[in-house]
Symmetry: C2
Subunit: 350 residues, 2 copies
């Protein structure tokens, strides 16, 4: 763990870097005690299913009822919370851990936004982390009741392929010049990765209605998605705009397609944000272009929507893991500024 003096110095460096880049300084003192009004965790979504494939060992009954598709939510509320909250939604092969302490031991966005007086909600997507998967499809095969081809896709991203997807460099282990991701701590980052069942799920995945339940329960929350979850806030808005204060989509795996019903975003400002080196990756260039088209259509339909490339606003060297890059708090400070200018006053929202 990091010493207090190193943490203080880092906070100062980050603040200076942010000021230099033209964004408001990320005003946060990591050494100041954190004062929390309340904290805890709960679930949204989920339902009961009956199964006769819960177990293949004698100690546990194979038949019974389990609860699945729920989404784990951890929250912290400051003493004087801002009028809207922040909900952090991780991406592929990761869990809510993405937003906590960075691999090199710096403050995560969960605490940064809390220290900026936002109530912060961090979720684990359905079937991942602390949100239960259903073991029945695996056990049915083990019990000989179903063929091996019925096993769900259960994927882990290897370090080598993730290296390219996360744009640490053009290919493992080459590094893009000026890379902001703390690669000296990559071992701690690889430990954050968890296997992902999501690629067997048909949309809308259970995380989406759960996010809608969360937004309606807590009210006026900014949905910040990352990568694979990029489309979820837009799908959530299709269920209801209720409770959604804004959408920030960090490097979405996909933006909504041309046939998306823009009326869902009538009162929801949208920011799509990309890091650096996008032009060095064909896959990311294509995703970026898709998002450009979406934002263009959204604006034409009257939606307050914006696509921003971090290098265009003075942040250079960002990987796909923007929330963990060395300048992560400066970027978070910039996002806070964007929100302060774009989230409507409660009086004008219904």
């Amino acid at each position: 763990m990091m010493s207090k003096s190193i943490r203080t110095t880092l906070a100062i460096i980050l603040a200076a870097g942010s000021a230099a880049s033209g964004a408001r300084a990320a005003q946060v003192d990591a050494d100041r005690p954190l004062i929390i009004s309340k904290q805890g965790s709960f679930f949204v979504g989920g339902h009961d299913v009956q199964s006769d494939a819960l177990s293949t060992i004698p100690n546990f009954a194979s038949s019974g009822t389990i609860s699945v598709d729920q989404v784990y939510v951890r929250y912290q509320t400051p003493v004087r919370p801002a009028r809207y909250s922040i909900t952090l939604i991780h991406g592929c092969c990761l869990s809510g851990k993405s937003w906590e302490t960075t691999p090199d031991g710096r403050m995560g966005w969960d605490e940064y936004f809390l220290r900026q007086n936002f109530t912060v909600y961090v979720i684990d997507q359905a079937w991942r982390g602390r949100s239960a998967a259903n073991p029945a499809a695996v056990n049915a095969v083990k019990a000989g009741k179903a063929g091996a081809d019925t096993l769900p896709a259960f994927i882990s991203a290897g370090h080598e392929s993730a290296w390219t997807i996360f744009r640490f460099g053009p290919e493992y282990p080459k590094v893009f010049p000026g890379m902001q991701f703390p690669l000296e701590a990559q071992g701690e980052f690889w430990k954050q990765m968890v296997p992902d069942w999501g690629y067997s799920m048909k949309p809308p995945v259970p995380t989406v209605p759960a996010l809608s339940e969360l937004a309606q329960k807590v009210g006026n929350t900014v949905l910040i998605s990352h990568s694979q979850s990029g489309i979820y806030p837009f799908q959530t808005a299709m269920i209801s705009s209720k409770g959604i204060a804004a959408i920030i989509s960090l490097e979405p795996g996909a933006c909504p397609a041309a046939d998306y019903d823009m009326s869902a975003l009538k009162n929801i400002p949208v920011l799509v944000l990309f890091g650096d080196f996008v032009d060095k990756s064909e896959a990311w260039t294509n995703r970026f272009k898709g998002c450009q088209e979406f934002v263009r259509s959204a604006k034409a339909a009257g939606v307050t929507a914006e696509l921003v490339s971090l290098p265009d606003v003075g942040f250079h060297g960002n990987s796909h893991m923007i929330m963990q890059d060395r300048n992560s708090l400066a970027v978070a400070g910039w996002l806070g500024e964007w929100l302060s200018h774009h989230v409507r006053q409660p009086s004008s929202r219904q």
Copy 2:
């Protein structure tokens, strides 16, 4: 979420209940802001493995390196931390969520001990929650490279069987008289349950060396285990007694056997704690007897060891989920008292 007045009232009721039972009142005001010196998360344990079964879909490479067997740890430190910390280790089919907000919305032990000025570490066991599982054994079968019989045990406890194991009643849905578990909120509890890969693992499971790494890293920590993890602190002490201030085993699935090397516990006070209705369950009666034998042998070998039945010290109606029962904070207060009398001063520990 619960209103402030209900939370205040609850805190008062709990304090009163605790005083009535003869234990020191659980002095905690849930409405007082929580002041945290630092918080965050990190991993202990883990190593890299090569695999050619990481994926069965084209979007992700099937060959590569992943990190597995690491253990996720979340921590919070108060401004003036006590001289020893608390590490909370969940049981079967659950995650670190067990120790957070209770199903009926009350404060969990994670926050209770923090408010009593302990640094608190909450883990997810290896292969569960935010601690990655390895998908290779499933993918090898799906890819036709291995037979269905090689699939690991992947079990979920159904509500009906868990009801009996957790001693909510003699059988689902009958309830033991005076039951302290908040069954009116059982839906939220069932959502806490996650599938468990652990029954395919040979001991020592990776959680054990990771716990040893944690204890040695943070120093002077009390390992509080629950149920299936009950044996882990004792196995951890076999690796090294370094960093272990005490062991509290809540309703262990098993206590160490007669051939356990008691010298491992030379400087480590041990408490094994059981709830109510143990005599109503044959399985739990057997576990209780096994622990009685262990404690007897430990004491004979000079270990400071104690087995306590909650009804014997004035707490009645506790289920297996002691940390979530209605009197959970009063029991935690009693544990705090026990620790204050049993954890040695740093000067006498090496």
